[in-house]
């Protein structure tokens, strides 16, 4: 199963440059998620790979083959669309079969593959139905089945779960992940849903404005966001980003906030030696705050509660810190005891802070 690489890809619509000199390469068997807000170019990139759009400049390789100028059907890809895009006048069987119409396979092989995909996706009882008679989840399975029968090395998914309800989305997410583990195929998956990205991907490419902001494993993206955009985009509630000034002493490096709160970042792995007085932006994850510290902490301060909200197993509390809201993840039990206006002492765990250069927005 092949490796996919984009080399110096540029795509323009008239005068509008959507992608500019983009490079990205994924390994055999990777589950790549292209993640980004609407209009960031992620779907454009997928359509370029599929061959549904032509690249303005650059090269797309699948394995050792240059597919830049190949027809979509000749690229050895299968795609699952957001709206399922099932053929409404064909039965499920007909839909799966049409997926194989470009490959000149013998009839038994076609039937064998349809039976295999139907069994894998548990859509065997539906084979003689038309798409209009199926539920959303069933249509989604058929759409995946139509891609599976092609038996190709690379699967493309274009926001396939966004039309499903929340429960079904969680189920299908697991199933797609299971399929990937089973088939060991390469998958390129476009979504704006960070939970889908975090749960399914082996690699995430966070995109914004046609530029890949960061490319890495879900853990890397979450733990070590490369810049302010990634830091703010990944995570819910979002990372708290606050302006601070560095204070460098002989044995201690601290980030000092406007209110005078000092955050100890002595153990921060600076890329270049920190300088006293540098303007930085400190990124503090909501879950790295604690109300009652048991271990070493980087900072402790007292802030007034604004409100708390419970989201099932979790709860978030919002505090007023330097005229802005500071989000914290708290235990649901503790959240129930917080009353608006009450002042609470909070601590930030040691070694968990993210620092970004205030001028460039890049990770320090």
């Amino acid at each position: 199963m092949p490796r996919v690489s984009f080399e110096h890809i540029t795509k323009t619509y008239g005068l509008l440059k959507v992608l500019d000199d983009l490079n990205l390469s994924i390994d055999d068997g990777d589950f790549l998620v292209l993640l980004g807000p609407s209009g960031c170019g992620k779907t454009t990139l997928l359509n370029l790979l599929a061959g549904l759009l032509d690249v303005t400049d650059g090269r797309i390789m699948i394995g050792e083959r240059d597919v830049t100028d190949l027809d979509p059907k000749d690229r050895g890809l299968a795609m699952v669309f957001q709206s399922y895009a099932l053929y409404p006048t064909k039965t499920v069987h007909g839909n799966l079969k049409f997926g194989l119409s470009a490959s000149k396979l013998p009839r038994e092989e076609i039937e064998k593959r349809i039976a295999w995909a139907a069994k894998l996706l548990q859509i065997e009882p539906l084979l003689n139905r038309k798409p209009g008679q199926l539920s959303g989840g069933q249509r989604q399975r058929v759409a995946i089945g139509r891609a599976l029968v092609k038996n190709v090395g690379v699967f493309l998914f274009d926001e396939p779960l966004s039309n499903l309800d929340a429960k079904l989305r969680t189920e299908m997410r697991l199933e797609i992940k299971k399929l990937h583990d089973q088939l060991k195929s390469t998958i390129v998956y476009v979504t704006h849903d960070q939970i889908e990205a975090m749960t399914m991907a082996t690699k995430i490419a966070v995109m914004n404005g046609g530029v890949i902001q960061q490319f890495g494993t879900p853990d890397e993206i979450y733990e070590r966001p490369a810049n302010l955009f990634v830091a703010g985009f990944i995570g819910s509630p979002a990372m708290n980003l606050r302006k601070a000034k560095l204070s460098v002493a002989a044995d201690k490096v601290e980030a000092v906030f406007a209110s005078g709160v000092r955050l100890d970042v002595s153990d921060y792995p600076f890329a270049s030696p920190p300088r006293d007085g540098d303007d930085v932006i400190a990124g503090l994850r909501p879950e790295h705050f604690v109300l009652t510290a048991t271990g070493p902490v980087a900072a402790s301060f007292t802030v007034p509660v604004q409100y708390a909200e419970r989201t099932g197993p979790d709860a978030s509390a919002y505090f007023k810190f330097e005229d802005e809201l500071l989000a914290l993840r708290v235990e649901p039990g503790a959240a129930a005891q917080l009353t608006p206006g009450q002042s609470v002492a909070v601590s930030y765990l040691k070694g968990k802070a993210n620092l970004f250069d205030a001028r460039t927005g890049q990770r320090m």
Partner: protein
């Protein structure tokens, strides 16, 4: 006045007539206004029905009764003689073979021109709507302009073109002219219909098969039921009811039924056989009616069966 009457006023007189019985407070169900509406509708209906009544009854009368002059009387003796005469032996010019000649001419004009016009325009519309065609925009604009050129303006060039092609005065001549003249409008209709097919279905088909014709026949054509019925009704009626193209390009040997009918009723000698004429007119009008009845039913079925989300 109460709120109810105000609402009635707003909803219009027709609703007022229908909803009147549901208001038990009013003793009289029919108001002055609704009587006026009913009277107007009745006059409208009579306006169409009386001539039709005269045409139908006259076609079943004998010439003897017609000469008596009682136009609205029912036939004394119901007879199909006039229908038989109009179909088999009425004279058009010097040929006395009745309307059946024209009928079969019309049928043999209708079928090839239907196949030609729909066949060409459906594929053109499909290509323009769903494939990347170079200059598709300007091409559509030209089509749009063509759809509004009156036939009379290009009649003479068309006559000389058909003469060069050696089809002038033949069934094929009339059929081709019909097909050519219908092309712009039909192409626009198909193109607009196909523009509404979700782009993703087309993308999926391109990735699955990539073949222009395979996608057309297996995916697009089965989705075109509704629009085909609409176009079929449109084309059948316009071709069947056409007179001008038939009389211009049909010559003497390929006159459609309408031209045949016109020749049949305009005689300069002898008595006017009103019963024959009425029967002939009815015979000419029947085929489109039959199409309406049969295809119209399919049309309704097509609308309900096609309600599938992409």
């Amino acid at each position: 006045m109460t709120d109810l009457t105000a609402t009635q006023k707003a909803l219009g007189a027709e609703v007022a007539v229908r909803s009147a019985p549901y208001f038990p407070r009013k003793k009289k169900a029919i108001t002055g206004r609704s009587i006026a509406v009913l009277a107007f509708l009745a006059i409208c209906a009579l306006f169409f029905c009386i001539p039709l009544y005269v045409v139908i009854t006259t076609s079943f009368k004998t010439m003897d009764q017609i000469r008596e002059g009682a136009m609205f009387a029912l036939p004394n003796v119901w007879t199909l003689e006039a229908w038989d005469h109009a179909w088999n032996t009425a004279c058009s010019g010097t040929r006395c073979e009745g309307l059946k000649v024209g009928f079969w001419n019309s049928v043999s004009i209708l079928i090839p021109s239907l196949v030609l016009s729909i066949g060409l325009s459906i594929v053109t519309g499909y290509a323009l709507a769903l494939w990347n065609v170079k200059w598709a925009g300007p091409f559509l604009f030209v089509l749009f302009i063509c759809a509004f050129v009156p036939f009379q303006i290009i009649m003479f060039p068309l006559i000389s073109m058909t003469a060069t092609l050696k089809v002038y005065g033949s069934i094929w001549g009339v059929a081709i002219i019909h097909a050519v003249l219908a092309m712009p409008v039909l192409t626009l209709i198909f193109r607009n219909y196909y523009k509404d097919i979700p782009q993703e279905i087309m993308s999926a088909a391109v990735m699955d098969s990539g073949s222009f014709w395979k996608i057309f026949f297996e995916i697009i054509l089965p989705m075109s039921g509704n629009i085909l019925i609409v176009v079929l009704i449109l084309q059948i009626t316009s071709i069947w009811n056409d007179y001008l193209i038939g009389v211009t390009f049909g010559g003497l040997g390929a006159q459609p039924m309408t031209v045949n009918l016109a020749n049949l009723i305009t005689i300069s000698t002898g008595t006017v056989r009103y019963n024959d004429n009425m029967a002939a007119a009815l015979l000419t009008a029947i085929p489109p009616l039959v199409i309406y009845f049969f295809v119209g039913k399919l049309f309704v079925q097509g609308i309900t069966a096609g309600a599938i989300k992409g």
